[in-house]
Symmetry: C2
Subunit: 532 residues, 2 copies
């Protein structure tokens, strides 16, 4: 009943996408102040006066401590962190352990056969003694994407460079992992500092897990999650990764797309051949691969692989409403990104992200530029990523893609084909795939979801963006499954951060706001009917 009232009031105030009701004392307080906020403040307000006061205190602390926060991030991103380099990741882990221990957090290194993960815990000193505090597990990763150093134009990947003045919210720090994802780790730790400095205690028991191999798919995470089930046990998981919505508005996501990568290798002649002596007679594998790729999508970008969209679970009413409320950014993006005509036959970017995708992330055959030689190459390789949504599994999509390739008349093999196979079949394609990461999508209609939304609203001025699905992938399904825990995303970094690409950067305004958001999530209201 209370919930219905809250929803009605909020709708009147023009804000209502989700309702909230308190099922325990602190919940009631939250509810009442929230109803008040809905009823008396205009849409896009940041909550009650108390919330605003807290937010201002926290923001003021951030402003006073900008240079030390920045120094901590600069020191952290100066350490090379390409996951393939295991020794580098150990150096990073040791450094991060120091950062955690400096705050007095209970810290543990979680060993794996290769790169260590880190765990930390912070008690719920601000929770009412009558109730068991909500346990929030925060996830972030401290490894980064591989770097193609010569392509970086602002600075070398691990030589951080600030463009602009630290006092300018538009200034940006350039280096690998500033945005993805060391910036978020520094923000989480600064949030703890900020709460302490302004004298506001966390209401939740906060746990932190820091991943050292996210960019290669977190291969150790499944076993690690099983092994440390008790240690990691939580009521919700918040991943501190990914960019905010392109509008720049503070963002909360309720899931993320999954991914599975596939490598296609098309075989040509047994060795590279002179194009003069053989061109017109020996088939070219780059041309065959092009032909195959062309069959995979139509001109609108719709994937033509049979069954590709079959398992998609339609969005709920709440999710559809959330999508509609997200600011439209398509026109600005088209202008900024030089997109004359997007894929999707008129769908919004948010609609597109809630569907599975197929993307040729790399293709190579022979050489281009100065190294180009006049040959018929002996093979051609395409790297494909298929993004997944809820209920669409990596295995199913890979099998569908293989069936599609076969249907085009190619002979599909799993391993390097032998000479006999290549002599007999006119088009031999080797298809290999990664293990894949399924998508997650937490309902927006649960008590915990509603509590998370409240905390988010308290932290920001104006309306946050609530996204049913974040486009990117974090390998949290193992944690989600092992811990049986709902997953939320609290990205803080600017969307135009060049993550996974040269010139990765973090806009300072996003870092400062992110600290306040994380502080608010450490002050999560008790959910109304939290089932343990």
């Amino acid at each position: 009943m209370q919930r219905i009232v809250a929803r009605i009031v909020c709708r009147i105030a023009g804000m209502g996408r989700v309702g909230l009701a308190g099922g325990n004392p602190s919940g009631v307080v939250v509810l009442m102040s929230w109803i008040l906020a809905c009823a008396v403040t205009p849409a896009h307000s940041g909550g009650t006066e108390d919330d605003a006061a807290h937010r201002e205190k926290l923001a003021a602390w951030v402003t006073s401590n900008r240079s030390s926060i920045l120094d901590e991030l600069i020191a952290f991103v100066s350490i090379p962190n390409v996951a393939a380099n295991v020794e580098d990741m150990k150096t990073n882990a040791a450094h991060l352990k120091g950062m955690l221990e400096k705050r007095g957090l209970e810290t543990r290194i979680l060993e794996t056969p290769t790169r260590p993960y880190l765990f930390a815990r912070l008690g719920a000193s601000g929770a009412p003694s009558s109730a068991q505090p909500v346990r929030v597990l925060f996830y972030a990763h401290f490894d980064g994407q591989p770097v193609d150093a010569p392509s970086w134009t602002v600075t070398a990947p691990f030589t951080p460079k600030l463009k602009g003045d630290a006092s300018d919210r538009e200034a940006r720090l350039y280096a690998r992992s500033t945005a993805d994802d060391k910036g978020s780790i520094v923000a989480l730790l600064a949030a703890i500092d900020a709460l302490r400095a302004v004298g506001i205690a966390p209401t939740v028991e906060a746990k932190f897990i820091f991943d050292s191999e996210e960019e290669i798919g977190s291969p150790s995470l499944p076993e690690l999650a099983q092994q440390h089930k008790e240690l990691l046990a939580a009521d919700l998981l918040i991943f501190a990764d990914g960019p905010v919505h392109q509008s720049g508005r503070p963002t909360m996501s309720f899931g993320n797309r999954g991914i599975v990568t596939v490598t296609l290798r098309m075989y040509g002649p047994s060795r590279p051949l002179h194009s003069g002596h053989y061109g017109n007679w020996v088939p070219n594998p780059a041309e065959k691969l092009s032909r195959l790729i062309t069959t995979m999508k139509d001109a609108d970008g719709r994937v033509l692989v049979e069954g590709f969209y079959d398992d998609v679970v339609p969005l709920s009413a709440t999710e559809r409403e959330a999508l509609r409320a997200i600011p439209a950014v398509e026109a600005e993006l088209q202008d900024e990104l030089f997109i004359a005509r997007p894929e999707g036959a008129g769908a919004s970017l948010q609609e597109a992200i809630n569907l599975p995708s197929l993307n040729v992330r790399g293709i190579a055959s022979g050489s281009v530029g100065d190294e180009a030689r006049t040959i018929i190459p002996s093979s051609a390789t395409a790297e494909i990523d298929m993004r997944l949504v809820k209920n669409v599994t990596p295995e199913a999509q890979v099998e569908r893609l293989k069936a599609h390739v076969r249907k085009q008349g190619f002979h599909v093999v799993d391993d390097e084909p032998d000479a006999a196979t290549r002599r007999v079949h006119a088009g031999v394609v080797r298809i290999t795939s990664g293990p894949g990461t399924p998508a997650t999508r937490t309902s927006m209609d649960t008590p915990i979801s509603r509590a998370v939304i409240v905390a988010m609203r308290r932290a920001v001025e104006g309306e946050p963006v609530l996204m049913p699905t974040l486009g990117g992938t974090v390998p949290l399904h193992h944690l989600e499954a092992a811990l049986n825990v709902p997953v939320y995303g609290a990205p803080i970094v600017n969307y135009d951060n060049n993550q996974h690409a040269p010139d990765e950067n973090l806009r300072l305004g996003n870092l400062w706001d992110g600290i306040v958001i994380y502080a608010s999530l450490l002050r999560l209201p008790a959910p109304d009917d939290l089932a343990r």
Copy 2:
């Protein structure tokens, strides 16, 4: 009349593809002995008894001098010779100058703004004093293709390695340029040594031009040919480059395909984008490029660019006959090269080579393998080579390709497109092309052609392969035009030499035979009615 008789006699002997008649005293001798050879020796014989004796003497000299010949080649290919490295090419030129001067040849360095060419001359000491000797200009190049050192499996590109014993004709020397084209230069010089050693004098005035930039299209050759017109003046030009026919038979070609290279760059988003956050909405340039490439050829490899075959000059009756006489090697090649189904809808390799071709020699977008990242790339590049045949110009083919790209709905630009262009046009393609090299094809029915064929027959046991067109390209059209001279090709190296690719190699048997062939070309019979 004499010519007709010769042709008839040869046809009876089963050898007759071309006739020869002598128009001067030495020509008559040649003719008579040749008629005799045709009439009394079985098909695939090597000529008269005198020819056989000469050949044996020369071959015996080669056998006795294998190790010093090989040493000279090893020293030469040890010098890095990627044309882009101008200083390296100067070192090569100085070394080659020493090789020429050692033989007492009149030697000149022909300076260019970058890499020096070399010229040398050898008098016709064996020509009858009554007649002006035939002037033969031999062409070879001493630069090599770029090297991708990590791909070489037998040895490093400039660390020659002999696999097998020098006494074994099947042994091979591995290094860049062993086959393309330093091996031919060493063979030419050894041919001079061999003639001198066995006491047979050259009947021609031999000139040599050695190119230092063939693999980058010989940019200085047009001006150089004009500048040194008198010095280079000749009655015929023989290029000592390219591989023999795949049957392994000694080969003479009457032309070569031309080439023009084209670079297509397809533009995508303004920067590489995270495939999770944008996949399904931002169009992918690698996929668009694949779509474009797929429109260029049908499944049989026939080029679909409008007008692509319009300017092809049909082969003459003699050329068609020559084609038919070439040993069929398709089945063996399919087996060796793993070609389950060749392009060309059933055409022979030789037929295919007499048509223009389009080949994707390289393609790149994003990264593959360990460097692959989950992005939508911001551009995709294809390197294309179009081989040309007689009368099909580089300019016309490039214009046709551009028109084809436009017809597929793409916006074609010559330079890096600006933001406004990329914002407006859904598919922007930058097309740039090299200057191109036209094809050459000398008639097989001229007196000089007939003389060349005789010299070739004298040099080999069995029938040589006579090819109207060699598949590869040598930039001789400038020499051909400036000197108004017919062009012939006398390739000597094994066809499976991996030229333009890692593990380039030269089969020793080919080197030894090549020396005897070049010696015979230095003893060219006087053409029957050579017009000066």
